[in-house]
Symmetry: C2
Subunit: 200 residues, 2 copies
Amino acid sequence: MSRFAPAVAKLITELGRLPGIGGKTAQRLAFHLLSVPEPQALNLARAITEAREKVRMCSQCCNLTESDPCDICAASARDRTMVCVVENPRDVAAIERMREYNGLYHVLHGVLSPSEGIGPEKIRLQELIRRLQNHAEIEEVILAMNPSVEGEATALYLARLLKPSGLKTTRPAHGIPMGGDLEYADEITLSRAFSGRSRI
Amino acid sequence: MSRFAPAVAKLITELGRLPGIGGKTAQRLAFHLLSVPEPQALNLARAITEAREKVRMCSQCCNLTESDPCDICAASARDRTMVCVVENPRDVAAIERMREYNGLYHVLHGVLSPSEGIGPEKIRLQELIRRLQNHAEIEEVILAMNPSVEGEATALYLARLLKPSGLKTTRPAHGIPMGGDLEYADEITLSRAFSGRSRI
C-alpha cells in the first residue's frame, strides 16, 4: 500500500536494494534525490551507468580497472617478485594508501565460505594459480585476507595449495593495533599478539 | 590520491553526496553496484532518471506526483473541508498509513528556519495562502509540522497568519507515545502531555 507516486516508489525500492540501506533510509535518499537540483541527481545516475560501462577486471590481477592491464600491473617501477592476495579492490586501495608496499596484487573478489556456497571456483583462485605458474619471477605470495573465519580459512587453503610450488607464502602480522589498549583487546587478538611476539 | 579507476572514483564521489553516506559507505555501495548483475545496477540509474523526469509537484497541494492534480486532490471521496499542512511528502505517506484522515494535504517542502536562511518565501507558504483564499469550502487547517523548534515556529507563524481568516486551525496532540514509559519521557514531552490532559 504505497502512497508514493509509482516512479518514487520504484526509486525507493531500487535504493532499498543497496546493502545497509533500510526502508526509511531509502525513502530519505529518494526524496533527497528528488529535491536536489536535477543535474546532481542525474550525475549519480550517469556515474552508475558509466562505471558499469567502463570498469572491467584486469586480466592479470583481477582488480577493477578501466585499462587492461591495470595501472599497477603496467607500472614498470613495481616489484614483480611479490604478489599480495586480497579479498577485494578496497583492500588494494587501503594497502596503496600505506605507500610502503611496492609489489603486485591479486584480487580474489571474495573468500571461501562453504556455508554460503562459495567454493574455490566462485572466487578468482584459478586465475591466481595460473598466474603463479606462468610468471616464474614471482617469489613471494602475501596472503592478506581479512582476519575473519572465512579469511583465515581461505589463507590456509591457499597456503596448503602453494606449498608444493616452493613459493614463499607469508601473512601480515596480527596483534594489538597501534594506539590500542591491551585492556580492551579481545582474547584472540591478544593471543595472536603474544604468539607473534618479537625481540626488541 | 585515489587508487581507484576514474569511473569508480566518480561513482564513489557521487554516492558520497547523498545525505548520511560517508566515504567508507560510499565505497562499499560503489563496489556493490559494480559486483551485482549489470541490470540491477542499471535499474537504479534508470529509477533515478525516470523519477526526475516523471515526478512533479501537484499544482494544488504541492505533494510529489506523476499526475496533476495528484491522486489525493483528485479523489472525490476525500473531505474537502480539511487541509493538513505537513513538512514533506514522507509525512503525507505516514498520515495516509494511519488510514483515518480523509481530508486533503498541503506540503510545505520545508519549515521556517532563520538560522539556515529559510524564510516564508523559500517554502510553499504562498501556495497555501492562495489556496485557502480560493477555496471557500475549506474550514479547518491542521498544522502537522514536526514538534521540532523549527516545526513549532512554523506552526505558530501560520496560526497567526491564518487568525484573521476565521479558519479553524488545529495542531495534533503531543504527549507520551503509546507504549512509552513515563520514566523515560523527556521533560518537554511530559509537560505537553500534562498541559494537554483530558478527562477520561
